[in-house]
C-alpha cells in the first residue's frame, strides 16, 4: 500500500516549519513520527499534498525539569518517555501509559506530540495527561500560548490547536508530596488500542485522607473524560477499599459511551468502573511509598 503522491519538505527549525505551514496552508500536514499519519495516508483516509517533516528539527526531543514541571519535547518517542528516569520518579503513571502504547517498534517511532495532536479517541496519552493536568505549548508565528489539557481535546481527532500552530512541548506539573499516579488499560486484543482506560492522580495525607484526586477515563467519548463524580466521592474521605470501590463505580456516570463491534455501551460503562478502581488503587499504592 502506498500513500497518494505528495511533496516533502524537511523543516530545520520550528520557525521554518511555521513558514512552510503558512506557505502550504490546508494542503500541508505536519509529520512527526508518522505512526498515526502514515497508516492513515496508506489507507487514503488522508491525502495531504505536502508533508512538512518535524523529524528533522533539533531540540524537541528532550525531557527536562523546569519550575516544578516536567517539560517533554513534542518529538519525544514513547519508548524514551517510558524509560525516562525523571518520568518514572515523578510521573510513574505517564511511564505506565507510554509503555503500553502499541508495541516495541511503535514506541520507538511514535511521538507524544504526534499522539496528542492526532487525538485518537482510543489513544493512551490523552487519558493520562488529563489525569496529570498537563499543559500544551502551541507556537505560532505571533508567539506561543499554553492550552490546558481540559480545553485541548475538543472532538474526535480534533484539538484546540489552530491551523497556524505547532505543538512544541507538553508541560506536566510535578505532583505534590503524597501523590501517586497510575494508568490502567483494557486494550483491544488485536489492535492494542484502548477499549477503556483510566488515569489517576491521588494525593493523600499521612492520615490516609484523600486531599486531591484527578481521574480521567478513555474509550467512552470523543476524547478523555474527567470522572468528576469519582473525584468528588474521593476528596476529603479516607481512602479505604470500600470508598474507592464506590467512587470508581461512578466513573462512567453521565457518559454516553461510543459503541463498537467489540464493546457495547453497557460493557464499557461497567469496565470503566473496574479500570478506574485499578488506576486509583495503583496510584494510592505509589502515594504511600
Amino acid at each position: 500500500m502506498f500513500p497518494a503522491s505528495f511533496g516533502y519538505v524537511a523543516a530545520r527549525s520550528v520557525a521554518e516549519a511555521l513558514e512552510l505551514m503558512a506557505k502550504h496552508g490546508e494542503d500541508g500536514k505536519l509529520l512527526a513520527g508518522g505512526h498515526s499519519l502514515i497508516p492513515a495516508m496508506k489507507l487514503r483516509l488522508q491525502s495531504p499534498r505536502t508533508l512538512i517533516d518535524l523529524g528533522t528539527v533539533a531540540g524537541l526531543r528532550d525531557i527536562r525539569e523546569d519550575g516544578g514541571q516536567l517539560v517533554i519535547g513534542a518529538l519525544t518517542v514513547h519508548a524514551d518517555i517510558a524509560a525516562s528516569e525523571p518520568v518514572r520518579r515523578h510521573l510513574p503513571g505517564l511511564s505506565d501509559a507510554a509503555s503500553v502504547i502499541g508495541d516495541v517498534q511503535v514506541r520507538n517511532r511514535g511521538t507524544i506530540g504526534g499522539s496528542v495532536a492526532h487525538a485518537d479517541p482510543a489513544a493512551d496519552l490523552p487519558v493520562i495527561l488529563t489525569a496529570l493536568n498537563a499543559t500544551f505549548v502551541a507556537q505560532s508565528p505571533s508567539g506561543s500560548r499554553n492550552v490546558a489539557v481540559d480545553d485541548f481535546f475538543t472532538d474526535f481527532y480534533t484539538t484546540a490547536l489552530n491551523a497556524n500552530e505547532i505543538l512544541t512541548e507538553i508541560r506536566v506539573p510535578i505532583p505534590a508530596p503524597g501523590t501517586g499516579t497510575a494508568y490502567a488499560k483494557l486494550p483491544h486484543p488485536a489492535s492494542g488500542y484502548v477499549v477503556v482506560s483510566a488515569g489517576a492522580a491521588i494525593t493523600r495525607q499521612a492520615s490516609g485522607t484523600c486531599v486531591a484526586a484527578r481521574i480521567a477515563i478513555g474509550g467512552l467519548g470523543s476524547g478523555p473524560l474527567r470522572a468528576v463524580a469519582t473525584e468528588l466521592e474521593l476528596q476529603g474521605k479516607p481512602l479505604t477499599a470500600q470508598i474507592i470501590a464506590a467512587a470508581a463505580a461512578k466513573a462512567a456516570e453521565e457518559t454516553d459511551p461510543v459503541e463498537d463491534a467489540y464493546a457495547d455501551a453497557e460493557y464499557k460503562r461497567h469496565v470503566a468502573g473496574v479500570y478506574a478502581r485499578k488506576a486509583i488503587e495503583a496510584a494510592l499504592e505509589r502515594a504511600r511509598s
Binding site: 500500500m1 509529520l31 502514515i38 495516508m41 508533508l51 517533516d53 508495541d103 516495541v104 517498534q105 517511532r109
Partner: protein
Amino acid sequence: MTAEAEYAAVPITVIVNGAKHEAVVEPRTLLVYFLREHLNLTGTHVGCDTSQCGACTVHLNGRAVKSCTVLAVQANGAEVKTIEGLANGDAFHPVQEGFREKHGLQCGYCTPGMIMTAVHLLETNPNPSEDEIKHALDGNICRCTGYVNIVESIKWAAGKMRK
C-alpha cells in the same frame, strides 16, 4: 506548477548495513520498499503492510522499527540495519544461530522481523526473563510456530551472547 515539480523526488543518503547509499526517491516511498526494490535487500519482508505484524522490522539508528510505516525520506542521514547485515561473513549472529538450534521457524516469513526485534531486545536487555521476551515480541506475529520455539531461540541466543 506541474505535478512533477510539486511532488519532486527527494535525494537521500542512507547507511544500510554499513554501506552508504545515495538515491533519489519519491516522497511516498516506504522504507521497506526502498530496501527491497531499490537496494534489492529482500530479506526484509512485507507482511500486513499496516504496522501490525512486524515482518518488516529493521533497525533505524539502532532501534527496532516497522519499515512499512517509515518513509524512506525519514531515514535520510540515518543508519539502517537489516537481516542481511547481522551475520559476520559466514558466521551467523547468535540470534540467527538460536533460531536454527531451537527450530524457531517453520515457514520463515516472520523470521527476519522476529530476529531483528530479538536483537534489539538483547542489545538493550542482555538477560531478559521469559516474560520480557514475550512482551518484546508483542509487535511480531507468527502464524506457524505458536511462539514457543521462538522464545526458546531467543533464550538460547541470550545465553550464548552472555558467554
